[in-house]
């Protein structure tokens, strides 16, 4: 094992922010020691309450995260926030603006905020989100908040990482209807209608509630909470719901099932990463070859399955 990584882990377990931060970069940069460090995280102890907060841009996620964090900090808890912003597919860079929206809690000793760019990973949610959450747990955080823009696949991934998933909508943005249609109901544990001072807030809440009623689900019945994050209205109710869900999970078997699902997802991801690396990484299908095949597909001369067969055959698999 690399001594440098050893030192980082030692510092991490002492609660040192600098070590946590450098470990995050190590993993994010996907260098040679990254995988070893990643694997070690799985066996490093400590668990935190992981809360996912997701929703479309403009609904007020950061204000909400700020309030939730403040509440936990007020109870003397150590809080970590992982704020994921999209990376531009064109430039590969990113403008990470969540942190500035958390400024009224920033700077506290017991708080750690990390801005993460998605770095172009499929679905938008950073491949680093899971490891970063683990790092913060290992550092000693009692609560970790994972904030991300919720678009389709993202939200499912969040629900696999988080213990409690909060879906945030806001009236007037129209998206709560999308939320109902897109299957989000399946994965949200708590639904928040933020900016509840807006005119259609009540209607949005009602629509969500009736859609939830129609779900066939045993166990935890998701609730709808109305908030005005910028002035703190409804936050007490939200914290109560979070506590309620946490208590429910500690008692119910279906939490274990969820964790198993999450772990299965991680296995799939790990295998996928290995396979892609093996077949399409530096010893596999080259860039030029991939481009060539892609052109042939566009010219309707071949299809992706033929290409996949070729790739497998080249590596000796039938």
């Amino acid at each position: 094992m690399d001594t440098h990584t050893d030192r980082l882990f030692a510092g991490l377990q002492r609660g040192e922010k600098g070590c946590a931060s450098r470990l995050m970069s190590l993993i994010e940069n996907e260098g040679p020691e990254a995988e070893a460090a990643l694997r070690r995280l799985y066996t490093t102890g400590l668990r935190a309450l992981v809360i996912g907060v997701t929703g479309w841009p403009g609904v007020g996620k950061s204000s909400l995260v700020s309030r939730i964090a403040k509440s936990f900090l007020g109870e003397g808890k150590k809080v970590g926030i992982v704020a994921v912003d999209p990376t531009s597919p064109i430039s590969g860079g990113g403008l990470l603006g969540d942190r500035i929206r958390l400024r009224d809690i920033e700077g506290r000793e017991n708080l750690f905020i990390r801005s993460v760019a998605s770095r172009g990973h499929h679905g938008g949610l950073s491949r680093s989100a899971r490891p970063f959450v683990k790092i913060l747990e290992a550092m000693g955080c009692d609560v970790v908040l994972l904030e991300t823009v919720g678009v389709g696949q993202n939200q499912t991934t969040v629900s696999l990482i988080a213990d409690t998933t909060i879906i945030v909508v806001a009236p007037g943005l129209g998206d709560y209807l999308q939320a109902i249609k897109s299957g989000i109901l399946e994965i949200g544990d708590i639904f928040v209608v933020n900016k509840a001072d807006r005119p259609d807030a009540d209607k949005a809440a009602l629509d969500l509630e009736s859609a939830i009623q129609m779900r066939e689900k045993e166990g935890w019945r998701p609730t709808v909470v109305k908030t005005i994050a910028i002035d703190g209205t409804g936050i007490e109710d939200l914290m109560r719901e979070i506590q309620g869900h946490t208590t429910h999970c500690s008692r119910e078997k279906d939490m274990v099932t969820r964790k198993i699902s999450a772990a299965k997802d991680e296995i799939r991801e790990a295998v996928k990463a290995r396979l892609l690396n093996h077949f399409m990484g530096k010893d596999g299908l080259t860039n030029e070859a991939t481009n060539r095949y892609a052109r042939e597909i566009c010219e309707r001369k071949t299809d992706p399955y033929v290409v996949a067969d070729i790739v497998l055959r080249d590596k000796g698999i039938n």
């Binding site: 450098r22 260098g31 403008l95 990470l96 603006g97 700077g107 990390r114 801005s115």
Partner: protein, 136 residues
Amino acid sequence: MSVKKRIIMAKMGLDAHDNGLRIVSKWCADAGYEVIYAGVYNSAERILQMTIEEDADAVGLSFLGGEHIHYSKKLLELFKAHGLENVKLFTGGIIPPADVAILKNMGVDAVFTPGSRRDEILSGINSCFEKRGKGS
């Protein structure tokens, strides 16, 4: 490998003319950097915390009122005290020509004065990262 350079873009003290900060932030993001936008009203301590938590490779500061030497000095001192000498520092804004040398001697890696064009700024930032000395 997926290495990206991470830059914190901030203003310190009370001045809130953030036009330049926003524009240069966007230019940097478009050029492939990960920019952590810290906005206005930052103290040196706050920027220090951010630099640690975000493991930033550089901090970019924008000034208007004449406070550039005071704040650059303060931040560099804090970085030194916390073993962050590797973090690059560049500044821009209303900085009189005579102060450019003073800032560079203090340890500021690049200074951009008004009228600097985008390409000039981006290549200036690029070369900060390629420069050796002060660690890499």
